[in-house]
């Protein structure tokens, strides 16, 4: 995976102790989420207690990086500096728990081939920053998956 960001300008997240593992997981090619160790509930975005059992025994765990396309929009409007237009904004759900969603970009996909429900795989876009590097989780069609 190239270490050069394919998109020169992105607004990056403000890193905190709660979100650092998520935004830097790509360094190890891992998509990671907080998970309740008592009831196995995935938790996203990060919060101090489990939303199911209200327990505080939470830990960050990697997931497979496989996901399903929930919905998308092909964006044509130059809101801000960013990916080359038009680009695809998508909402995906991870295969481990469909209630855990990410807003992201769909990449490496012909726009005519986009189908809601298609199988996706994470890839990371690395951005160096003096406040801490960030790896944005983007999604591409999963190779070999039945479409």
């Amino acid at each position: 995976m190239s270490d050069t960001p394919t998109v020169p300008f992105r607004i990056l997240p403000k890193l905190t102790d709660a979100n650092r593992e998520f935004w830097q997981g790509g360094q190890d090619n891992e998509l990671r989420f907080w998970r309740c160790q008592d009831c196995t509930q995935f938790i996203h975005p990060p919060q101090p207690i489990c939303p199911s059992c209200y327990g505080k025994n939470l830990r960050v765990e990697p997931v497979s990086g496989r996901a399903t396309l929930t919905t998308y929009s092909i964006n044509h409007q130059p809101w801000m500096p960013g990916p080359e237009l038009p680009y695809v904004v998508a909402i995906i759900e991870i295969v481990e728990d469909p209630s855990v969603r990410l807003t992201t970009n769909l990449v490496d996909c012909d726009h005519a081939d986009i189908t809601i429900g298609m199988a996706l795989k994470v890839q990371f876009e690395h951005h160096s920053d003096t406040d801490g590097d960030v790896w944005l989780p983007l999604f591409a069609p999963e190779l070999g998956a039945a479409q």
Partner: protein
Amino acid sequence: MTETLDANSIIERRACVTGVGQSDIGRRLGIDPLELTLDACIAAIEHAGLTPADIDGVATYPGPMAVPAGFSGAGAYDVIDAMRLSVGWYGGGLETSGQLGSVINACLAVASGLANHVLCFRSVWEGTAQGSKGRSAVMPGSGGSGSFKASGFTEWTLPFSAPSAAVWIAMFAQRHFHLYGTTREQMGWIAINARRNAALNPKAIYTDPMTMDDYLGARMIATPFGLFDCDAPCDGATAVIISRVDRAKDLRNTPLRIEAVGSALRGRPSWDQFDDLSTMATRDAGAQLWTRTDLKPSDVQMLQAYDGFTFLTMSWLEAMGFCKVGESGPFVEGGERIARDGVLPLNTHGGQLSAGRLHGYGFLHEAAIQMWGEGGARQIPNNVEVGAVAAGGGNTCGCLLLVKE
């Protein structure tokens, strides 16, 4: 979730609309937004036949906000101070059931006796704030500086170059298209209907006729939304007086009683984590409203429903039961049902799509104008005794049912 309420516990019925007012409205007026706000407030008080001394409550949405520029023209304190009001109750804020959440709060305040007459207002100056650069001028980090960092909800959208509600709501629409076969041509009727009504509204922003070809040919913003699926930022303020029914008997206008409100939120308060991405909290507010009245959707003679984006109006049509879930496309297709002389006249002032993004309050203003027969050239031919108003989208949604008695 569904429980039977006795009529006495539905206290919004003790509240009514007694007056409405509006400032000048334009794309870029360059007028002090507090001045616009006060123009609307004073107009509404006069329209109700009240004096400022009668006003003992103030409600607004979203309260003072510096960012994004133009989103809020004044807060409750600004108006209380500028008019030297003395209030028994007041409130303003963003975390409520859409823009009309502030009106619902006012209904509860008068019903409980904390106030007799609440001045509710919403003012915007997004046209002037955005200038010639349009919405991109007010996007976070739009200066292109690498030092700005996203946090809060924007942490999960801005890094993916998805800064606008246009993109987030486009994804809801796309999901609806996928599940129900909804089309751009169907959605276009919301925009065309708004434009043909705007032609009869002297305060509307866009009045040139719009054809389906115009709609489909406009440049894409974020699929399935083109330019004419998005509302028109403007400058302007709207004010509404909410009074307790026992204080409204001898005022200038026939009171428009609040029959029921909907304020519910039953999914996660998030644009992307909400449980069903083909609907929104419209679903929850709309369902709740019908648990608080014996009236039915078929009793409603007019709907004024939020159209910050065309799809939001379609979502409200389904959420409030004017058609089945998934059938808003066929319902609006052809534009006959929703025309001024149709079974359910819709957004008779031109909505935010053509009359300007007055952000929620414009719909309540128009509902009252129509029910009082003050619509002029755009007046609905039939006398409207039951009207519905809905505003908001995503996780911030509220609706009202009005009855003229």
